[in-house]
Amino acid sequence: MKNYDAVVIGAGHNGLTNAAFLAKAGLKVLVVEKNPYIGGATVSRELHTGWKYSNCSYVSSLFRPEIHNALDLGSHGLMVIPLISSMTFKKNGDYFGSYQNPHTRRKELMRHSLRDADAAIRFDADVLRWCKLIRGFLLRTPPDPGSLRPRDVFEFAYLLKKFYQLSENQLYEFIRFFTMSIAEYLQNYFEDEAILAHYSGGSIIGTGLGVYSPGTAYVLLHHAMGDVDGNVGSWGFARGGMGAVSGALASAFRSYGGEIRVESEVTKISVAGKKVTGIELASGEKISAKVVVSNLDAKRTFTTIMEKNDVPPSLLTRARQFKIRGSSGKLNIALDGMPSFPALPPGSPLTLGHMHFSDSLERLERAYDDWKDDRWSRDPYCDALIPSQYDPSLAPPGKHMMSVFVQYCPVNPEGGWTDDKRKQFGQTVLDQIAQYSPDFKDLLLHAEIRTPNELEKEVGLTEGNIFQGELTFDQLLFNRPFPGLAQYRGPVKGMYLCGSSTHPGGGVMGAPGANAAREILGDLRKPDTTPVEFSDD
């Protein structure tokens, strides 16, 4: 029987991040992956000859620069190209564009509403303030509110100190921001429907809530606090697709002596006397290890690969109650050429960024109403991108690759998913895009249509939830995944969680993996190899 210091289950980006830091500290680490390829939901796959699809996650920005630095991912081939714009097509033939360049952005805002152009200054300053505040908590382990251990008390004091750097009114504003719906939050600033719809989009991506649901304002942060090259709020493409992120992580991990085994599905975490002893693979092989880290979501970890006897009943209940609903679909499209968008002026840079087609809050909310009734949205919110404009490695010369993220798509439509329904769902999305691009359908060569069903089956995310658990405020910080279990340690000694189910959540941040590594190394009394956050004050 092979023997390791630590085994990481699942080669997602968090599993790999975690493994890399453990290996860097000198541990003998093995990563096991059920699929024949690594990356989990951070992959580039050639599903149509000549095209590379980032067929799950599709843009990078939240990935912690501290981790990028600490693992020297640049030298392992990771390069992120910043995206410079986003836009929303309007039904009346017009559009709203949001540009990185502040002057162009202001001019465009003024074209829609003078008042909103002024409000945007306030809005940007406020959101940036919340981003800076939250970023300080990303690479830290949340305190346990039920504990009086010095470490937890100290961590709470740290949290309070950070919050107390805000003024009293800012404190209240922050709580409001944390508990409000994105629609109401934005209405504090903006009046133009298209502008409201444009900035709300980021708050519903991957979330089983609508723009009018309290708590969605915070999700905006998950899509605004990222940065590329120090530009807060900007998004980027990883050159070569998202697989480049996991590829660089794997390369870093291997450079520290780590080992990865693909096509090795884990069936069980072995436990003896309240202590992990290793894992069992589907092939029947047993591997022993002092530490077992699960990159799977919390629900899947506790309900499928752990023996019932090893998990306390109260924890099992929490795992069952964990909100991990899938709500998103995705289309990956191979195009014969660049589609035209007549609404845009010739040569507009807006096709280079995010393109959306929902121009009112009502349309966004109605899309959510459909999902609540277990239907896909008849008029969905789509986030379309054509990364091949920047990155020639994704499609043959002159051809293009388009990625369309779709909100909302149900986990289980009435009667379950069939091939036919999946195609109908895809057709809904294609029809929506074709309304704004007359030649789009003629250029279509291939489309991969993904529903939560595919995400669960292929990647192993329960119910196809892209964040490994909803980012609602009852499941954040010391409540993530469950209260009392938010410090990455599992219910038995030597067992840890490192997936996006844990603080600070999903979005290809790598932070859960790094945080878990810090806890593990601390428990093993090994030197800490994980980075601390960059202070920007």
Partner: protein, 515 residues
């Protein structure tokens, strides 16, 4: 002529009267001004004519806070909480579900489900009890705290950690910001039972069972229940408003009826007095407003007298009424097959599933009326036959969701028809019994009760408008940036329902700032 007025209270709803009572008890000379011809606001009787009346827009509720009843001697002044009632969820097949304060009383609920309900209710009542201190005090400030704020926060922390114990505290932390839909799905299986509880959580607010924050609104309702079971307001002579008026009288409060206040006069951001609709001006250095915060600050004080950003934030307070009231004067006793006479006395609810409520709510987001509305029926005359001519009956109905924006005449007719049709599914002969009806949409409620946009609670009870953010920060401790102006209505912490707590907290705060 106005020399000697210490405090002017605008609006004689129950909170205004509670506040006035406490202030007078402390020795202040208090004058109350009420625009209508009777006190009580939403708890004042509503006359339908021809001998039909009800005890108020609020038809069912929990008893007034017991400490207030004691302090103001309300029992001596005739206050009697009405008869306790059960909630009866009507079922298509006649298997109606009877739910009392602590248990389900129906035979068609399996025993283990009934036990789970009992346990859930007990757990959540316990949470409500532990949270109680925050409801009966002014909301603490988060910075620049005074000793009472620190004490309160400490007490809450202690209650949560040591009163509940670690596991329960974790559970409370998990559910506090959560939605009632998920919590109920986790613990119960009977759809109708879940819907009845979920309805309790969202009643009166523009939220569906799936909206996060609805567990907190349910906890608030359970906080009211700690004072006594749900009861029917059915007797004007023993009602909250009648007793409060008598109490105020005996404490020396002067109440002016038919005296609409047009403006609150200010000078250098200080209250100078009020101006009445008839042009009369009165001087006072302290004014307490029972009127909702938006009307008080934007209309009575006026945005020009406020800091621009503050005024903007006031204008952003959310609260559009979504419940319409319908009164039916009936010529006989309505029959609901499957319900006996004593069950007719309950609150009859038409909300078969949580999804039904959620779908009804969906429409209101877009300014539409629910296709299939949630309906709550009570028959006050089953408790007090005096509210209608002999042999006749009054039916008071809440219909949700009816958005504020909805108002046109044809839509009103359609809504009445729809409501009658829906109730008739359970009470087949209803239509033939109707003598007359009256519909109060949120817009009508706004006009009659001066509650902006017809919201029962003067502002949505969402998490971002609760506690130290209710109605908005900068005015959450009952005093406002206008020196001498206080708020005491349901728009303040802890919000709506007939508890009297906003009035009590405001009075306490006012007295403290004077001393």
């Amino acid at each position: 002529m106005t020399k000697g007025i210490d405090v002017i209270v605008i609006g004689c709803g129950h909170n205004g009267l509670v506040c006035a009572g406490y202030l007078a008890k402390a020795g202040l000379n208090v004058h109350c001004f009420e625009a209508n011809n009777s006190v009580g606001g939403m708890t004042a009787p509503y006359d339908l004519g021809d001998g039909y009346e009800t005890a108020g827009l609020a038809t069912v509720g929990y008893p007034l806070r017991s400490s207030i009843v004691r302090d103001l001697n309300l029992r001596e002044h005739g206050y009697q909480p009405g008869p306790a009632i059960d909630t009866i969820s009507l079922a298509d097949n006649g298997d109606h579900l009877v739910i009392s304060e602590k248990e389900v009383l129906s035979n068609n609920i399996p025993e283990d489900e009934a036990n789970r309900f009992k346990q859930l209710k007990a757990d959540y009542r316990e949470y409500a009890k532990k949270l109680e201190p925050i409801f009966c005090n002014k909301p603490p400030r988060l910075k620049n705290m005074d000793w009472s704020d620190k004490f309160l926060l400490g007490k809450l922390g202690w209650n949560a950690r040591f009163g509940l114990g670690r596991e329960s505290m974790y559970e409370l932390l998990r559910v506090a910001g959560s939605n009632i839909y998920d919590v109920l799905n986790d613990s119960l299986s009977n759809e109708q039972l879940k819907a009845a509880i979920a309805w309790d959580a969202v009643l009166g607010s523009a939220m569906g069972p799936r909206s996060p924050g609805t567990v907190m609104t349910w906890l608030q309702r359970l906080g009211g229940e700690l004072n006594g079971p749900l009861h029917q307001y059915c007797d004007v002579s023993t009602s909250v408003s009648t007793a409060l008026l008598k109490a105020a009288d005996s404490l020396g409060v002067t109440v002016h009826l038919n005296a609409e206040v047009k403006r609150i006069l200010t000078q250098d951001s200080k209250v100078a007095g009020i101006e009445l609709a008839n042009g009369e001006a009165l001087q006072a250095k302290t004014v307490v407003s029972n009127v909702d915060p938006r009307t008080t600050l934007l209309r009575l004080v006026g945005a020009p007298s406020l800091d621009a950003m503050f005024a903007h934030r006031v204008s952003q307070i959310r609260g559009q009424g979504v419940v319409a009231k319908m009164y039916f004067a009936l010529r006989g006793q309505p029959e609901f097959p499957g319900l006996n006479d004593s069950q007719l006395k309950g609150k009859l609810l038409i909300a078969p599933t949580m999804q039904y409520i959620e779908r009804a709510y969906n429409h209101s987001k877009y300014g539409e009326c629910s296709e299939a509305p949630v309906i709550e029926v009570t028959l006050p005359t089953t408790h007090n036959p005096g509210l209608a001519p002999p042999g006749a009956n009054m039916m008071a109905v809440n219909v949700a969701f009816v958005p504020y924006r909805f108002a046109g005449e044809p839509e009103r007719e359609a809504l009445v028809k729809k409501t009658i049709a829906k109730i008739s599914e359970f009470c087949p002969k209803l239509e033939s019994l109707i003598v007359k009806h009256r519909l109060l949409t949120p817009k009508d409620i706004e006009q009659r009760y001066h509650a902006v946009q017809g919201h029962w609670h003067h502002g949505e009870l969402t998490l971002h408008q609760s506690f130290m953010m209710r109605p908005l920060y900068g005015a959450a401790q009952y005093d406002t940036p206008v020196h001498g102006l206080f708020l005491c209505g349901a728009g303040c912490h802890p919000g709506g329902n007939v508890t009297g707590l906003p009035g009590y907290n405001a009075a306490k705060r006012l007295l403290k700032t004077r001393s």
